[in-house]
Amino acid sequence: MEPLLDAAFLRRLERLKLVFQQRYHGRPMGSQLRSRSGMSLEFAEYREYHPGDDFRYVDWNLYGRLDRLFVKVFTREEDAPVYLFVDVSRSMEIGGKLAYAIKLTAALAYLALNNMNRVGLFPFASRLQGGVPPRGGPRQVFEIFRFLRRLAPAGETSINESLGDFYQRSHEGGLAILISDMLSAEGYQEGLARMRWHRFQPVVLQLLAPDDLMPSPAGEVRLLDVEAAREWPAYLSAATLDSYRARLKAYRQGLERFCRQRGIDYFLISSGEPLERTLFETLRRGVFLK
């Protein structure tokens, strides 16, 4: 069986480190910490108040000066779990996205486990499709890798529904990395917003194939939606493709704007880009991977 990641790559991964920036409402030090040893709260930053934030952590001094509401954000060193959500809908068949997503997930799982984090794997399409509960330790690597190898694309994408399933399982907060093409007709807003409310540090890795980003003219075709199995006769001319790319850009920008407004890390990844460059360059421009 061909390994998901070769040994040399795994050794390079070990140099990476996940950075947790949990946007806690900020439990005051003490009460919780006493039940857990080794934890500490550290003030990280101010951020704008969002509806749903705990009003107790509003910095009223700043409000008096600036007449604007800000809350304090604390960081806590903890072996916070890492939740890996992998989109296994049929749209991930296009352009090798699923295979790329599997390897990316494997890499993130490895480096998280290497950082002594607990890692859980949750494939989803229209709903969550089982998964591997968050655990730590070297055995978890094999479990996750084995699970990843068995993944196959099926079903339509429903991010809201899938994340809703996840929230019902009463997971504790952590780093939630969503690897998906994010192309859901139903939208993604509710699912991602609830992720923030449920105290997750969400990271959205929108994975698109080169064919998604830059399809080529093909004349008379039948557009086939691989998830919905619907056909649509079309004529792929240069003008048609320009129109599509404009819509895709608008969709992406909408997603990015939504994530930015809610403090969600957003990255656009192409499955045509080498995995190493994605991990060591693209994702390291953010804050969750160093």
Partner: protein, 622 residues
């Protein structure tokens, strides 16, 4: 509308194959996409029915329309349009020498051709016969000739040096194309009115010219005669000054290119004058005696060809005569008195050895059936042509008008008896004495025969003592032997008497060095046209002729006529033909073919996937 090839319409059945192929064609390939909603667009404009229809079956409709147009073009439809043009017409262009006359814009003939071309262009669907009319009229384009060929023949035609057309020959040529009643229009282009027999046919006559007749000086006659002393020639010249003003015209006469006469002639306006000159000088027998006369005229002279003429002195050639039958010194002496003749007398026909004799005179004998050549029978028989019976008393003379009896007064001839004669019906009895023939002429390809079926001796007739004898004999000799005395000249269009030189090949050499070899039936070689000297040669025999254009062609008949545009004559039928609206067939296939090809090109362009045509942007709604 009329379909000239309706069978082609069956090709419309190909539309079924096109429809089947269109709907059974391979489906467009599937293009897998991650999310269809990104391709649809939320602001999609509503499609009109026509755009929807175009997206589904537009190409098919284009293909079917192109097929329909191309098949219809193959079926060659024509539509009858009202037209005032004639359907069948004849164009007759005068090709005689006078049409070479210069005008301000080219020659009369060129003007005629230009007008004829314009006429044909104005009647594109009419069938047209084109005839060039001269001494021997010829067909330039037949009724069934294609228009392009007819136009080409018309443009390539040139005027001749010949005289006017013989009306009968012209009409016969026209009838060879169609009955005269079928010609709705006959347009005659000329510089003068046609012969009365043609003018009465109701033809449209288009006179050519600039209105005022151009000045013209012409040599209308030139002949030479040897002086009786034999030491020179008498030269006769006829000159016409067809100009409005007197002219002084230099004249030069040459003998074998050597000037022998140079004189300036003074003529009044519209004057015709005759001049005679004498050339005193020995003419060597071995040299040719070619005379030419030429006028030096100004450049404004209308006709250039009539300023020069050619002449040859007449010369009686000594005859060789074979006398078959008993000798008759008186008769033989009478023949010798007509001119130089060498008479060889034989009792019987010598067979094939008679070819070297110009004339065979049979006297009181019967020629064998194989006798050939030029025969004069005096009380002699020729089996199957002339059978002589008993002598019969003569009756009143009755003669026909014929060149053989020219200047002969039969009533002065006394003949006691004539023979009961059986004559071949193919010949002509020219003179009878009562019920029996006295003069008979017969001609076949091998025999030219004149018979006097009575005894010409003095015991039966006083013919030898009358002046009618030499006249009659001269006439007979002229008919039997036209080469006996060389003609002064021939006219352009005449035929050389080539048959007289025998049945073998005859070489003909004309002016400018052109030559041809005449074979039996080849009229093109024997007909002369260009003025000048012609030499015919057969074996050791060589004869020369001088050819000149007809003098009548130098007359300008257009003195009072102004050029017309061919107003239709008073003939009711032709007037009705010119004014009655008719139909002309307009072929539609070029338009249909062009439309079909344009549609095909449009369909091909619409189908080309590499082109971003405006109506192919966006996707079709499901």
């Amino acid at each position: 509308m009329t379909w000239l090839s309706p069978a082609s319409l069956w090709l419309l059945g190909l539309s079924a194959a096109i429809i089947m192929a269109y709907f059974l064609r391979r489906l467009a390939p599937a293009y897998r996409v991650s999310a269809l909603f990104l391709w649809s667009g939320r602001e999609e404009r509503p499609r009109s029915f026509l755009r929807l229809l175009w997206s589904r079956v537009g190409l098919l409709l284009l293909q079917l329309a192109a097929l329909a147009l191309l098949v219809t073009a193959l079926a060659d439809p024509v539509v009858n349009l009202p037209s005032t043009g004639a359907r069948v017409m004849a164009i007759v262009i005068d090709g005689s020498a006078s049409m070479r006359g210069r005008l301000s814009s080219g020659t009369r003939y060129e003007q005629a051709v230009a007008q004829a071309l314009q006429l044909l262009t104005q009647n594109p669907s009419a069938q047209a016969v084109i005839i060039q009319a001269e001494s021997h009229s010829r067909l330039l384009a037949s009724l069934v000739a294609r228009r392009a060929e007819a136009l080409g023949a018309l443009r390539a035609s040139q005027p001749t040096f010949e005289g006017d057309a013989d009306p009968g020959e012209l009409l016969q040529l026209l009838r060879s194309q169609a009955d005269l009643s079928l010609f709705e229009r006959v347009i005659f282009f000329s510089d003068h009115l046609p012969a009365p027999s043609l003018g009465d046919l109701g033809w449209e006559v288009r006179l050519l010219g600039d209105g005022e007749p151009p000045p013209n000086a012409a040599l209308t006659g030139f002949s030479v005669r040897p002086q009786p002393s034999g030491s020179g020639f008498d030269l006769f010249v006829q000159v016409v000054n067809a100009a409005a003003e007197p002219q002084e015209i230099p004249l030069e006469i040459k003998l074998d290119e050597r000037p022998i006469v140079q004189q300036t002639l003074t003529l009044e306006a519209d004057q015709e004058a005759n001049y005679s000159f004498t050339y005193e000088g020995s003419v060597e027998a071995a040299r040719s005696t070619r005379f030419s006369a030429a006028l030096s005229v100004p450049a404004s002279d209308a006709l250039s060809y009539d300023n020069q003429r050619f002449a040859l002195p007449p010369e009686a050639r000594p005859l060789t005569v074979l006398w078959i039958g008993p000798a008759n010194p008186m008769l033989e002496g009478a023949f010798r008195a007509l001119g130089a003749a060498t008479i060889t007398q034989m009792e019987q026909w010598p067979g094939d050895s008679t070819v070297q004799y110009d004339l065979v005179i049979a006297y009181k004998t019967t020629l064998p059936p194989e006798a050939r050549g030029h025969l004069l029978l005096l009380d002699a028989a020729y089996p199957s042509i002339i059978t002589l019976g008993h002598e019969q008393p003569v009756g009143p003379w009755q003669g026909k008008i014929n060149p053989l009896l020219n200047a002969v007064q039969p009533e002065e001839i006394i003949v006691a008896t004539v023979r009961e004669t059986q004559l071949a019906p193919e010949g002509q009895t020219l003179l009878t004495a009562g019920a029996w023939p006295a003069l008979y002429a017969y001609e076949s390809p091998d025999v030219r025969l004149v018979a006097l079926p009575f005894n010409p001796d003095l015991d039966n007739s006083n013919l030898l003592l009358t002046v009618d004898f030499p006249i009659l004999m001269t006439n007979i000799m002229d008919w039997l032997l036209p080469l006996r005395e060389r003609s002064a000249q021939l006219l352009s269009g005449d035929e050389l008497p080539l048959q007289e030189l025998g049945s073998g090949p005859i070489g003909v050499r004309g002016p400018g060095g052109q030559s041809c070899t005449y074979h039996s039936g080849d009229q093109s070689c024997g007909r002369v046209e260009q003025p000048g000297f012609y030499t015919i040669t057969s074996g050791s025999i060589q004869e020369e002729f001088a050819v000149n254009p007809p003098p009548a062609e130098s007359e300008d008949s257009q003195t009072t006529q102004t050029p017309t545009t061919g107003a239709p004559p008073s003939s009711a039928s032709s007037a009705a033909a010119a004014s009655t609206p008719r139909e002309s067939a307009l072929p539609l296939w070029p338009f249909l073919l062009l439309a079909g090809l344009v549609l095909l090109a449009f369909e091909l362009r619409a189908f080309d996937p590499s082109l971003g045509l405006p109506w192919r942007q966006g996707e079709r709604s499901p």
